[in-house]
């Protein structure tokens, strides 16, 4: 175990050293309430967790790439403007394509988030919790949970793509308005848990390996069960 710890620390240091040698920037700290990522300083490297607090704003400019270490986790509680362009999308992906990273978590943001022309790859889970906003031309690629939406008033998906995720889109207690969003070539497409509502063209949810659309309430009723995933997990984390 000690060796494993040494190995992790060594890998982290090695990644940092290689990154610095390759001109990669560490993820920046807020300055005057703004965390700004610019193309000229890209690519950035994030090894561990980072929280953008409720009083701060994240601004990511077109052409920025952030390379994530395996423990990287981005929690966004403040204003979020990840705005790439069609020709210069913003990319968040793992530094080592064989390792996943934790994901992007938009949590209890006061102002609507804005995420445009963005690619998020290889994350374990990307979540929106108690926040509203728009994902426009966002590609969720090869994540375990592409996007997990929980307890939200409204999230808009415009021209988004979900590809090669294990669970592409999961919605609980919230409404997702979808426009021209394709959910294809994932293992599971759309999963609707209690209170989950998807408004949009469901014919674009197709060609997923195991299923296109699943509804937890139907699955429970079909098997004579009453306890949902959320209830089991709540019990476990409560103890």
């Amino acid at each position: 175990m000690f060796l494993r710890g040494i190995s992790h620390a060594f890998c982290g240091l090695l990644l940092l050293a290689v990154s610095l040698a390759a001109g990669e920037m560490p993820f920046p700290h807020p300055e005057n309430g703004v965390v700004r990522l610019t193309e000229k300083d890209s690519p950035y490297v994030l090894e561990q967790g980072v929280v953008v607090s409720a009083s701060d704003t994240l601004i990511v400019e077109p052409g920025v790439t952030v390379l994530m270490g395996e423990y990287a986790k981005i929690t966004l509680r403040g204003s979020v403007h990840i705005v790439g362009s069609e020709s210069k999308p913003v990319v968040f992906r793992s530094a080592d394509s064989s390792e996943s990273w934790n994901g992007v978590h938009i949590v209890s943001t006061n102002r609507p988030f804005e995420v445009k022309n963005f690619v998020v790859e290889n994350a374990f889970r990307n979540t929106v919790f108690r926040s509203r906003g728009i994902f426009e031309n966002v590609k969720f690629v090869n994540n375990y949970y592409g996007l997990w939406v929980d307890d939200v008033p409204e999230v808009f998906l415009a021209r988004c793509d979900f590809v090669r995720n294990r669970f592409a889109l999961s919605i609980r207690a919230g409404k997702v308005m979808s426009d021209d969003t394709k959910i294809s070539s994932n293992v599971y497409g759309l999963y609707l848990e209690a209170g989950g509502d998807f408004k949009g063209d469901k014919s674009l949810i197709k060609d997923n390996l195991e299923s296109d659309i699943r509804k937890e309430s139907d699955e429970l009723a079909g098997s004579g069960k009453r306890v949902s995933r959320s209830v089991w997990h709540r019990i476990e984390t409560g103890f």
Partner: protein, 276 residues
Amino acid sequence: MNLLKFCASSAALLFLCSCDSNDVSLAFNTENAPVQKYFLESSLDAMLPSDSGVTVPEAMETHLKVQATLSELVAYDNGSGRFEMKIDSVEYKSDKRTVEDYLYIQKYLLTQHFQYKMAPDGSVSEPAVEDVALQPGTEELNLLKLFMKVQPILPGNPVKVGETWERPVEIPENGKTTTVYKSFTLQEVYMHDGAQMAKIGMNVKYKEVVDSTANVQMESKGFIVGEGSILFDMTHGVISSVSLDLTGHVNVNDLVAGSVIPDMHILQKIKLRSEF
């Protein structure tokens, strides 16, 4: 120097232990505690019986095994110390999660190093996960909470075998604080491998109160009760082992689904062993 400190501390502990032929004083070593390996295991079973034959019985079984290293960072003038628990390895399984979920949870728990201040009687203050960016969310397991459930509180004054003392312990979590009432009885004092050991019985009870910010709310029916025992190494002022079995019933209200799962039976077994 460390050896001198250790000898002085051991002598002080032995002196306290022998202040009366029938009385023993129990105290954690917060001056120069040795680095300890902690082995924590927790299994949780939740069971829901069938509902008049309409639905099937349901159950969840989870198991968590953690190895950690406890080190004292600072000894304060007031007798308390600041400790750090570094998580070395995690094994986790749940029959309600996927293998990838296990792996994610294992990886995430490996980052949950935490610190706390501890007084010589074992009471813990300022518990906190080291990396604020990795604080457990409502859907995540919380090692600090498990540890605080089994942490013994010592009497603070000399006690005789058979004597009982009670202490409430506040365990902070997301959106709420749970008060766990702990009662201890000194059962036996004996020598083992050159160390004086105290066997202490432990009973706990607490109410699982609703977290009003959550949309899946859990509330216990009456108290969750637990029984266990502690082996405390009086010579070195450290825990040798703790076991605690908890049982109770909870109602879970999924506000979003508009459904109430009543009377879920819960069994939790927590074991902690320490080596140095």
